[in-house]
Point group: C2
Chain length 325, copies 2
């Protein structure tokens, strides 16, 4: 059971779009929107040669950069940094140990040089050492007060409205929409239903190990400082197969981390749909692709052209980007 | 996508029970049936102090010994033994290596002495080295021809009819029914929907690691001879949390392997339901509990009494055991 969401995060865009009668109102009438509508029509029309029965209508979505903002860095990194700062009084040794020293001194340049290993250390130090229920509460409390540095809004308001509409549109056509993210599964589950309409059991993500314990007669799962699964790149098809056990018929991403998920989904035969969100709008959001430290889109952009995946040009394809606009 | 099931396995009991109007017809009117009906009434009646909203109505079921026969040994062990025999010509060294030698000589006593490690070796040797799609086909083909040594029927006909009815009854009350089994997740997924009405994405189980590869442009997952996750005992709450992300409100098992799942489900507050199938019917099925090498029920039987979980006395509570009776 998930605790009720706190008041600061009420978010009505989802409720509005679930009942909208004209599909995808925040999409301009370009080739991307047309490709989505044509695919859904083809696989849902009984008698169509491309018909897919409802139980096999699985659509998988990356999260960071596909469903919500991932610049100037992933939201979960901002969370980890804030957690490390909050926990620092309990860890005096962090003042002299990287990557913690860099975090405490707001030295992002040194932090970024610690690379993936440094980030993993931050995540383990800040995401472990409590029960799963305690962690859930920590995430919810943080989201209620944290603000994006540029947009000055709660991160959960930085979901892309066109993608929220797309999720709802697919569900209204009897697709089941899953999130398949490199982000932490327990970092996402407390809020994905509220923000995207995606319930906890439809969230696949990276995880650390947990241990079951009866403590004073109460059953608990303790979060351990040990990686369990990294749901990124070639891990995404692995995670999809393990958690869902069906091959998706549509997949949506924005970066090289999504390449294998798109290949797994679209290259095994049948009419399938792959889509890449290309961040081309520095004014309303961000513009980045081949050289970005976060959300790098390079090989997957080449593969999109090769495999005829739909590439969303954010600047031209999206009428608006956020619900609050 | 799952390949269509072969003709030998058509099984209509499920279809019959899904539409039955009187719930649980194969259950005698004893305390076990009454406890089930009372629990479902309490959590589904709007305004009840114990009301549980439909999205939180998660029920988890063990498989071996809870939903189908697990004597004289688990079906998956019979599968592994048959696979080892089929693969033996490719592995001349198995003639002199345990546990394979014991399998090839039908020496079950020596095999059982190789213990968990021996069984794990059998599973890895027989379940790895192919793609996930190839493995699915191997499982389906095996089930189409394999017969239970005592009942002389396909294993999939040895599902317990009262439990198939219970699954359907819970679903008709807007529960979602999950399998949470120590058995292999990919050994179960090809047939659980047909036999139990449980789709692949609602099956949690043990797994070996897989690796994604593009081979000749075709995306494949290869099954590796390396354990990934053991979904048994304290692993069951871990698996439930990872795959489902919600705590169940009802859990069903039959052995000590299910103890932690039942604790996780029932001991965290709220009206919750735990049930243990006690095998007491040597005539129609099997009678075993505290001393059985497979499906040992010892600690969980004590815990059932302590925690007031419902204990099904198979002999007296079940009007019939199999659909074919």
């Amino acid at each position: 059971m998930l605790p009720a969401f706190s008041g600061a995060l009420t978010f009505s865009a989802l409720a509005q779009t679930e009942t909208a009668s004209i599909p995808l109102p925040s999409w301009n009438d370009g080739s991307a929107k047309q490709a989505i509508l044509a695919f859904v029509a083809a696989v849902t029309r009984e008698g169509s040669p491309d018909f897919v029965p409802p139980e096999e209508r699985i659509a998988t979505f990356d999260n960071d950069g596909t469903l919500w903002v991932e610049q100037p860095g992933p939201t979960q990194l901002a969370f980890a940094i804030d957690r490390v700062k909050a926990l620092a009084p309990l860890h005096p040794e962090w003042k002299d140990t990287q990557p913690f020293k860099a975090v405490l001194e707001n030295d992002m340049e040194t932090l970024s040089k610690t690379g993936e290993r440094g980030l993993a250390e931050l995540v383990l130090a800040s995401h472990a050492g409590m029960t799963t229920e305690e962690f859930q509460k920590i995430v919810i409390d943080w989201l209620a007060t944290a603000r994006h540095p540029r947009f000055k809004r709660p991160y959960t308001e930085l979901a892309y409205q066109p993608m929220v509409e797309l999720l709802a549109y697919l569900r209204s056509n009897r697709f089941r929409t899953y999130i398949v993210s490199g982000g932490g599964i327990e970092f996402m589950r407390p809020w994905t239903e509220r923000v995207y309409g995606v319930p906890p059991e439809h969230v696949v993500g990276s995880s650390i190990k947990t241990r079951f314990e009866l403590r004073d007669g109460r059953p608990e799962l303790f979060r351990l400082a040990e990686m369990n699964f990294i749901d990124d790149k070639a891990g995404k098809p692995v995670g999809i197969n393990e958690f869902i056990g069906r091959r998706p018929v549509a997949a949506f991403g924005n970066s090289d981390g999504d390449l294998e998920m798109l290949q797994w989904t679209t290259l095994a035969g049948g009419l399938r749909f792959g889509l890449i969100v290309h961040h081309t709008d520095a004014e309303r959001e961000y513009a980045y692709d081949r050289d970005s430290p976060f959300g790098q889109l390079d090989k997957a952009l080449d593969a999109a052209i090769l495999n005829k995946w739909t590439v969303v040009d954010m600047k031209n394809d999206w009428k608006r980007i956020f619900a609050f606009e």
